[in-house]
Amino acid sequence: MEIAFYIAGTVAVAATWMVITRHNPVHALLYLNVSLLAHAMLFYLLGASFAALLEIIIYAGAIMVLFIFVVMLLNLGKETAEQERKWLKPKVWVGPTVLAAILFAEFLALVLSSGQGAYSPAVVSPRELATALYREYLIGVELAAMLLMAAVVGAAHIGRHKKLVLHRFLQEEKEKEEEKHEEAVL
């Protein structure tokens, strides 16, 4: 099982690398999907089977589809790939790489000093997860619910049909037309 864990981890890192370096947005999104699936595998191997499947259902199955949906509608052609290529020059990499390397070194030091392998599974059943969520972490759940509610209200507001507002000239024209229509009906 430990081998599977490290294989999935490698796949996740490689796929994420490909996400950053792809020029075509749809290809990048597909690699991101592979990365999410690899993460689900990692969760599963660590014993969090519920979280693993939620990762697939919500992230890979719904959110990424919406991303691809939007990219599809934009129909980004060769020009965007060209632009991406221009933006992703080697010079751009220097700053983030140095900073990330410092963090990575710290992380390595922590992991090595703890003397514990990365793979230490602890099985959590859906029932245990649910009781933890709705007892100890109830406030978090409630806050998330409020945030989502606000988002839903906002979406409903944006998606509302706007009232038809006409310029006064057009208004007069419209009234005339309506009168004509009424006469015709009579």
Partner: protein, 317 residues
């Protein structure tokens, strides 16, 4: 070693049986449609026209497998494989009988939902990679339809999970020893079946294809065996949804006298034929009607069902 051999054999047998049944469903569908429309249907090749499937398969293999020059080649080739793979993976958790199943996961039901949610990529990517207006329209419709109906599919099943207290499919089947869940959760059954038809994008919910408006929708540009993959994926989807309906609402393999597998197969075929009957009898709704129906009617009903089931479970305890 023996365990591994046993499971490998089981996987091979299940895979072979499923793909074979999926192929013969083409014959079954055409014969049943013909029966309901008062004609013969395919009846030339072999007894009852059974060999038409063989003829069709040979024909598909010999057709030119054409990739349009304007298509996005890698994704175009990759897309048809996803639908068949996702559906076949779902069968991993389907309990055909107490001892005929590949993996008895403690989160089996979620695994099924996860795999069916991945199936949508096939349509989206196929439509996008074809680089064709009709395909893109089909893909857009398919994506929004499948994402919406997935929500209701998951929600309608949660009542069953509450009653049986488990995501494990064998537990769900065993919880139906006294009453099938269709008796205690009739609303959930109707919602799940509706969502299932939308998930497999079969008539009357086949608006991603809608051959009278969109040529052939998301697979307009596909030919040869790549088209065959979409086709087989659709029929595998029908088998999967029928099998899940039987497992979750109709007691799975449970039944008197006959062996469990026979019961399971019989019940599943009833629903497969129901799928075909739907195609023969119902017109296709408009796209906006479909979405409105989903979000404004099915979603509230599903939530209400969940609320009532939760209340009853609390009262019983």
């Amino acid at each position: 070693m023996n365990e591994i051999l046993k499971y490998t054999l089981m996987i091979v047998i299940i895979l072979f049986t499923l793909t074979t049944i999926a192929a013969w469903l083409i014959w079954l569908e055409r014969r049943m449609l013909a029966l309901w429309q008062d004609r013969y249907g395919p009846n030339r090749a072999g007894p009852f026209g059974l060999f038409i499937v063989v003829a069709d398969t040979i024909k598909l293999f010999f057709k030119e497998d054409w990739i349009p020059p304007f298509a996005e080649k890698a994704v175009f080739v990759f897309a048809p494989a996803i639908v068949a793979a996702a559906v076949l993976l779902s069968f991993v958790v389907v309990p055909f009988a107490p001892d005929i199943l590949v993996a008895d996961l403690d989160i089996g039901l979620l695994f099924f939902l996860a795999m069916s949610s991945l199936g949508v990529y096939s349509i989206v990517l196929g439509g996008w990679a074809s680089n064709n207006k009709y395909s893109l329209l089909g893909a857009l419709r398919g994506a929004s339809q499948m994402i919406s109906y997935e929500v209701f599919m998951g929600l309608s099943l949660m009542g069953v999970v509450m009653l049986s207290g488990s995501f494990r499919l064998t537990d769900i089947v065993m919880a139906q020893k006294d009453f099938w869940f269709v008796v205690t959760q009739p609303v959930a059954f109707v919602l799940f079946l509706t969502a299932g038809i939308a998930e497999t994008h079969r008539l009357p919910f086949d608006i991603p294809e809608a051959e009278s408006e969109l040529v052939a929708g998301f697979h307009s540009e596909y030919s040869g065996m790549k088209f065959g993959m979409f086709f087989i994926g659709e029929y595998l989807g029908i088998i999967l949804i029928s099998a899940m309906v039987v497992t979750i609402f109709f007691g799975g393999w449970l039944g008197p006298v006959l062996p469990p597998v026979v019961w399971f197969t019989l019940k599943t075929f009833v629903f497969i034929i129901f799928f075909i009957l739907l195609r023969a009898s119902l017109p296709r709704p408009r796209y906006d009607q479909l979405m409105e129906y989903g979000w404004k009617i099915i979603l509230p009903i599903a939530l209400l069902n969940l609320l009532v089931t939760g209340g009853f479970t609390l009262l019983k305890n």
